[in-house]
């Protein structure tokens, strides 16, 4: 299974946050969950495949695209958070 960068960054940040008992753990945790969801659904979201309920499929694709977007932005948030933990 190929991991994406958001999973790696969020995972490392989460472990560091838990081990060193840092605040705002929910940030890497939610990014990790979003990254895992994105990893398994990206191929379907970007494909032309739609289910028999077309509008529901499109809505689901929009939700999953937003989750992927959150995972992408979240990895930068994790880096910023890790920097805050180190320098504060």
């Amino acid at each position: 299974m190929r991991l994406n960068t958001s999973i790696v960054i969020a995972g490392v940040t989460l472990i560091a946050g838990v081990v060193f008992q840092q605040p705002h753990i929910w940030v890497p945790l939610t990014v990790l969950v979003a990254g895992v969801i994105d990893l398994f659904t990206r191929q379907w979201v970007m494909s032309d495949r739609l289910g028999s309920m077309t509008e529901l499929s499109l809505f689901l694709k929009m939700i999953l695209a937003l989750i992927g977007f959150y995972a992408m932005l979240g990895q930068f948030a994790c880096l910023v958070l890790a920097g805050m933990w180190i320098f504060s």
């Binding site: 979201v45 032309d48 077309t54 499109l58 694709k61 929009m62 695209a65 937003l66 992927g68 992408m72």
Partner: protein, 175 residues
């Protein structure tokens, strides 16, 4: 209390722009391209957008209403909080929307299938209402859409840009 309401509305408006904007943009370009592609040649003066209006799904019309309202809300509510915040948040929302666009389906087939599904529903509604004339018109549109889908679905075309599509002649062959 009013402050909280303003912030909630601002967050909602930004969410609407980031969530609906990319889909609405791609669907708008797709309906224009498909509408021009299925229109007969030589109608450029009478119908410069081809059959776009006839094939646009209802939910797209709803999005086209909500999106400009969201832009105005961001600008007005942001400006109420601080003179620079309205413009800043609007620019931020548009930048985030263009980044989020990369996560949405890029192929024209997805949007073409959604247009066909919406047209099938539209035809069923007309049939249920006993509107024979509109049912026949919808059936003809559906036939044209299905023919186009058969023609292009193997080509895996990307969603064309609005600018390219605007320059395209009716029944043009290039996206």
């Amino acid at each position: 209390m009013l402050d909280i309401a303003i912030y909630i509305l601002l967050a909602l408006a930004i969410f609407v722009v980031i969530f609906l904007g990319p889909y609405a943009g791609k669907m708008q370009a797709s309906t224009l391209w498909v509408g021009k592609r299925i229109a007969p040649e030589g109608m450029d003066q009478e119908a410069p957008r081809g059959f776009q209006d006839a094939i646009t799904p209802k939910h797209q019309d709803t999005m086209n209403t909500f999106l400009p309202i969201s832009y105005v809300l961001i600008l007005v509510l942001g400006t109420i909080k601080a003179w620079y915040l309205g413009v800043l948040l609007l620019v931020l929302a548009i930048v985030l929307m263009s980044i989020a666009q990369r996560f949405y389906p890029q192929g024209l087939n997805t949007y073409l299938r959604a247009i066909i599904a919406a047209m099938v529903n539209k035809m069923a509604d007309y049939k249920k209402a006993g509107d024979e004339m509109r049912t026949d018109a919808a059936a003809e549109m559906l036939q044209r859409l299905n023919d186009l889908y058969i023609e292009v679905h193997d080509q895996n075309l990307p969603v064309p840009s609005i600018r390219d599509t605007q320059r395209m002649p009716l029944s043009g062959k290039t996206p």
